[in-house]
């Protein structure tokens, strides 16, 4: 216990170790938060639920925080639902007149991706009729459209050719925000009011409307080509990356260490066998085999994890451990142990292996990022887990959808940043642990 607290005190003297540990704690916190707030089933639904889940998001929109760094603010995405508003209902002969007023502030310097109205109507036979007008801050009133509403109806502003004609050929998502008298190319800022005048022809008919303004930014992480919120993938990628990295690193280092110790101690044919197997394993193209397993058997992350551990048992670190064990084996204290009559397994477990634990802990910590990146690498090759959203899969989607060519850098850089953060955190902590636990390096 005293040794443990001394190690802890040693660690606290290195700022990089504290930084690394804090980042790891933060990532663990994010993982816990994610698993609790977005349960697995919900995450899967959010990630592969289909257009019904994502229709309120714009495509490839940048994250909202980019506005903090821009002089010209990009329009944000917002939704106005008529259920949240005061409806002005007037009973008229043979039906009702419903007035819905949707005010919104527009104080951005460029135009939205699209404006869309989604209607759901309750009626028996006769379709309600809607007139849409927009009141601009400079007190003009633009007639948007008049149409009959079906049970579900979508009105997309920019696809309405009559509206385009009324706006002198300007595409509506830009035209309605511009002043027709001036040549200015920037939208007029201020409060706009969208008025929906609904006429129903049945006494109990009702209409519910949802106005979505698809901005250029959405969510804290942005969206991808399928309108999915990248935040889900970034959040869920954290626990997956951490558990994959930790399990793979733990599985390979511990088995490798025990095998190296047994080989060195018993020497002879067993040691040669272990060395030969290690050599075969070194020559095996590890990634090619993982690729084959992914392509032919299963792309499940847990199968890949199992194969990774299996192929890693006789990994290259056996060579490192062996060289240390060979030195330790010749130490006087082992001779002393032999002299007092300690058995083989006792010497291996009590005298050999503890000597290597200082070497093992840093190695374990520095190995974690290797496996975190391995998962990402496989995803980049298109062999990511078919169900789970992971960082690697976000990067793959981004690369294969031309994010690099079209300038959607956030799409690649966000998951890449998280990967980098994870990698650096574990590596920084591991390096300091290496210095502290490795007595040979301590004097240097």
């Amino acid at each position: 216990m005293a040794r443990f607290s001394r190690s802890l005190r040693d660690i606290s003297q290195y700022p990089s170790a504290i930084g690394g540990a804090l980042i790891i704690l933060f990532l663990l916190g994010v993982s816990l938060y994610t698993i609790i707030t977005i349960p697995y089933a919900e995450a899967i639904l959010l990630w592969r639920g289909g257009q019904d889940v994502w229709y309120q998001n714009p495509t490839t929109a940048q994250p909202t925080w980019v506005n903090a760094f821009r002089k010209e603010k990009l329009p944000e995405t917002f939704i106005i639902n008529s259920d949240d508003l005061q409806k002005n209902i007037r009973e008229i002969e043979g039906g009702r007149e419903i007035n819905i007023t949707m005010p919104f502030d527009y104080s951005f310097d460029s135009f939205p991706q699209e404006l869309t109205l989604y209607f759901t109507a309750e009626f028996l036979e006769k379709q309600p009729y809607v007139s849409v007008t927009l009141q601009t801050p400079d007190d003009r009133t633009i007639r948007i459209a008049d149409f009959a509403v079906d049970h579900t109806q979508t009105f997309i502003f920019s696809q309405d050719t009559r509206l385009t004609r009324r706006l002198n050929g300007l595409i509506p998502r830009e035209g309605i925000f511009l002043n027709p008298e001036s040549d200015s190319k920037t939208p007029i800022k201020g409060q706009y009011i969208l008025n929906l005048k609904v006429l129903t022809f049945e006494p109990n008919a009702n209409v519910q409307a949802e106005f979505v303004m698809y901005g250029q930014v959405a969510g804290w992480a942005g969206t991808d080509h399928q309108r999915r919120d990248l935040g889900v993938a970034l959040l869920w990628g954290t626990p997956i990356a951490l558990s994959f990295g930790l399990l793979a690193a733990l599985g390979t280092t511990v088995t490798t260490m025990v095998i190296a110790a047994i080989g060195v101690w018993y020497a002879g044919w067993l040691d040669s066998l272990i060395q030969r197997v290690t050599e075969v394993n070194l020559v095996l193209p590890f990634l090619s085999i993982l690729i084959m397993v992914g392509a032919f058997y299963s792309r499940s992350i847990w199968v890949i994890l199992g194969v990774t551990i299996l192929l890693g048992i006789f990994g290259g670190s056996i060579i490192t451990y062996r060289s240390v064990f060979l030195q330790v084996k010749e130490s006087p204290y082992i001779e002393a142990a032999r002299a007092y009559g300690a058995g083989n397994m006792r010497i291996i477990l009590v005298y050999l292996i503890p000597r290597i634990i200082p070497l093992l802990i840093p190695q374990l910590v520095t190995l974690i990022p290797t496996y975190v990146f391995l998962e990402a690498s496989l995803a980049v090759l298109g062999l990511g887990d078919p169900v789970l959203p992971t960082w690697g899969k976000v990067i793959t989607d981004a690369i294969s959808n031309g994010a690099l060519y079209q300038g959607h850098y956030y799409w690649i850089l966000e998951p890449a940043f998280l990967l980098m953060l994870t990698g650096l955190a574990f590596a920084m902590l591991g390096f300091v642990l290496d210095r502290i636990f490795n007595p040979r390096l301590r004097g240097v």
Partner: protein, 377 residues
């Protein structure tokens, strides 16, 4: 420090009592021969395992069978002399063709026997023809595809590895003499960057230099169409090589320098170095003869592991950079279920890895006086 003083092996020649000391040249030759044989055996085992995995419990055979059947049926449909035959006769003939072709490919034999024949073919890269892939020159022979892609991979990785080795040694040696300086501290704090693989830096480099600054190409090996004049070709090749080489180098160089610097520091605290310093030898000689020399074995064994991990990363790096090498080929082949190409690429990678290990072993034996070359231990 007790441990350090216990290591005078470097100075003491290791002659084991009772062993005949033979001529060093013949010992080295024997060592080399034994190493070649063991490594070849290693490659054989590795390739056999690859074949077992590539066959995926008969899955690939099923694909091949289905393909043979479809081809036979297609041929029967297109053959005018088949039209006059009865339905049963047609089926019988198709079955006969299928059986004949399966026999030709060897599908009628049990897998255990077939796998050994396949092993022989794989080791000699005699892997027949592909179904869908072609080499750039239009050949469908697997060996031609392999041989066409190999030089690109070798060029890229040899360049980066040589660059990596020498620049790391140079910087590490220089740093070990300036222990604790700002350069040293910077390298130590940059060492954790080694945890990310080359392709990862590749993406950042592409974003920066290809997408934003537009000064280097996104990927590929030469610009399209390839320049005709050989000087322009060379310049274009160099331009395309910059980003992948930098990506590979970035991913390992700081870690390498950090590790090697530590080795150098350990060895420069040995008594004989102090002795040499006291003799008044200059820094150059001190570094080369008293520090670098005893450290080389350690350096080479860590470099071997670095090289192996770099080879393993080739498929991704090449596909990120669209480099027309073997690694990119394996990714392509997987998409097309081209088992012969997958196995072929894996075999070539196994050969490359074995060759790397052998070369480094050989160098290790040359530089480490403690390795009892050929003395049978």
């Amino acid at each position: 420090m007790a441990e350090l003083t216990l290591q005078p092996e470097a100075a003491v020649p290791e002659v084991q009592p009772g062993k005949k000391v033979t001529n060093p040249v013949s010992r080295v030759m024997r060592y080399v021969l034994v190493r070649i044989l063991t490594l070849f055996a290693t490659v054989i085992v590795g390739v056999y395992l690859t074949i077992l995995i590539a066959n995926m419990g008969g899955y690939v055979d099923e694909i091949q069978r289905a393909q043979i059947r479809e081809e036979a049926q297609q041929q029967a449909l297109n053959n005018p002399s088949f039209k006059s035959l009865s339905q049963e006769e047609k089926v019988k003939r198709i079955e006969a063709t299928v059986a004949l072709r399966e026999k030709r490919v060897g599908l009628d034999q049990p897998f255990a026997i077939r796998s050994f024949r396949f092993l022989k073919n794989a080791l000699t890269l005699n892997l027949g023809w592909t179904q869908n892939m072609t080499s750039d020159s239009g050949s469908k022979q697997v060996r031609n595809i392999m041989l066409e892609r190999l030089p690109a991979t070798l060029l890229l990785f040899a360049t980066s590895n040589i660059l990596l080795f020498f620049s790391s040694i140079y910087v590490a040696l220089a740093l070990s003499r300036r222990y604790g300086g700002w350069m040293d501290k910077m390298i130590v704090s940059l060492a954790p960057t080694g945890s990310a693989p080359g392709w990862f830096y590749g993406i950042f480099l592409i974003v920066l230099f290809a997408a934003v600054l537009r000064i280097l190409p996104y990927g590929g090996m030469v610009s399209a169409p390839p320049p005709e004049n050989s000087f322009d070709y060379f310049v274009s090749l160099l331009q395309h090589m910059v980003l992948p080489v930098v990506a590979i180098t970035l991913s390992t160089i700081f870690l390498n320098i950090y590790n090697w610097r530590t080795f150098f520091l350990i060895y420069s605290s040995e008594d004989y170095v102090d002795m040499a310093k006291a003799k008044g030898l200059n820094d150059r000689v001190l570094e080369r003869r008293y520090i670098l020399r005893p450290t080389l074995p350690n350096i080479i064994s860590t470099f071997a592991l670095t090289l192996i991990s770099l080879w393993q990363g080739a498929p991704i790096l090449e596909s990120v950079f669209n480099w027309p090498g073997l690694g990119g080929t394996i990714v392509q082949a997987i998409g097309l279920y081209e088992t012969p190409v997958i196995v072929g690429t894996t075999v070539v990678f196994a050969y490359l890895l074995a060759l790397t290990v052998f070369l480094l072993d050989f160098v290790y034996a040359l530089v480490d006086p403690r390795v009892k070359v050929g003395s049978g231990s």
